[in-house]
């Protein structure tokens, strides 16, 4: 059977290097299949993450030939022809725990810093509100919120963003996409503080619209538009004295 050359980054927070493996080149296999084969049969100490393996959880995200992807949804033939080498690295812009497993804490810390959690206007103490909130799904705000709520926090956009790489305080596309869904949630009462949290050099004003996040999102979400929306809201609110 034909073979596939695979180079995998091995190491930890102190540093590491690429290690080369060879795997059988099967007709239909995903990058995750390849990594699993290597861990099971060649390098039992290879550290990597996956869970659902069917493109629902986002745990298997890694850098494949320089681009962040879900490895369970990336067929080898789409990224490497026979004779070419596959290069697999841990997700960029995150600290490495070991080999292909990164520490997602900074990603979720920024999510929290962007105030990416729902704060109910009614019954803020957690009690059940007396009435259902009536939110027409086709209303402009709800449509804008709905465009971003499918995010599962996989980190691909964060790993793909150059501003995240150049500016360590930058909240990143996912956190701000989430903030935008909440800014558009008419039931949410926390927007004064949230808009403050996503403004400035650490927030939306450092986005340069490279739109790599939107290009790479495996769920076809559009963090670029969400961030542009935050800029717009902050600009007009400030100009018109609402803030």
């Amino acid at each position: 059977m034909a073979e596939l050359k695979v180079r995998i980054w091995r190491g930890d927070a102190e540093g590491g290097a690429m290690q080369e493996f060879t795997v059988p080149a099967r007709e239909n296999q995903t990058i995750l299949d390849v990594v699993t084969q290597i861990q099971r049969e060649q390098a039992p100490d290879l550290a990597y993450r996956f869970a659902c393996r069917v493109g629902m959880c986002g745990s298997c995200a890694m850098e494949v030939n320089g681009r962040a992807r879900w490895t369970c949804r990336t067929h080898v033939k789409r990224v490497a022809q026979p004779g070419e080498t596959l290069e697999i690295r841990p997700l960029a812009n995150l600290p490495v725990i070991r080999d292909l497993a990164t520490d997602m804490a900074p990603f979720f810390d920024k999510w929290a810093r962007a105030q990416g959690s729902f704060q109910p206007k009614d019954a803020a103490d957690g009690s059940v509100p007396a009435e259902f909130a009536v939110v027409p799904p086709t209303s402009k705000k709800r449509a804008q919120a709905d465009a971003g709520i499918e995010c599962i926090g996989c980190g691909v956009c964060y790993a793909s963003c150059d501003i995240v790489a150049w500016n360590k305080d930058y909240l990143g596309p996912a956190a701000m996409n989430r903030a935008w869904t909440l800014v558009n949630d008419v039931r949410d009462g926390g927007n004064a503080a949230r808009l403050d949290a996503v403004s400035g050099d650490a927030g939306c004003h450092s986005c340069h619209s490279t739109q790599t996040c939107t290009e790479r999102c495996p769920k076809n979400l559009d963090p670029s538009s969400a961030i542009a929306g935050l800029k717009r809201t902050l600009f007009w609110d400030s100009l018109l004295g609402r803030r």
Binding site: N167, S199, G200, S206, H208, L234, F235
Partner: protein, 113 residues
């Protein structure tokens, strides 16, 4: 409290809105001025004693100076790691000094002997 990043972004976009129009005017003016070679006589015939051209170029210079300086600030922060309130103040000053040179030049063209 408004962060400096927010304010500088707003200034850059507001100056950009003016520059959007000013640069189109400028490009058209350039295309016409270079015909037959640049000549001081031609340029000054247009700008000498012309209040509107002076006002246009003065505001143009102010906007361009600030817009450029804020852009440089972003590049320096992201690619050279140069950040902080002191650095911001330096860039804004640079922008204002550049603008001052531009306004001085506009005045020269308005007042030329």
């Amino acid at each position: 409290m408004r962060q400096s990043g927010t304010q500088l972004w707003a200034i850059q976009r507001i100056t950009a809105a003016f520059l959007g129009i000013a640069v189109i005017v400028h490009l058209v003016t350039i295309m016409i001025a270079v015909r037959g070679g640049l000549s001081a006589t031609e340029i000054l015939a247009r700008t000498r004693g012309a209040e509107l051209w002076f006002a246009f170029y003065a505001i143009f210079a102010l906007c361009a100076g600030l817009h450029g300086a804020i852009g440089l600030r972003n590049i320096a922060g992201e690619w050279l790691g140069l950040r902080g309130r002191g650095v911001d103040a330096l860039w804004v000053s640079t922008g204002l000094v550049t603008a001052a040179f531009g306004i001085r030049a506009a005045w020269g063209l308005y007042h030329a002997g």
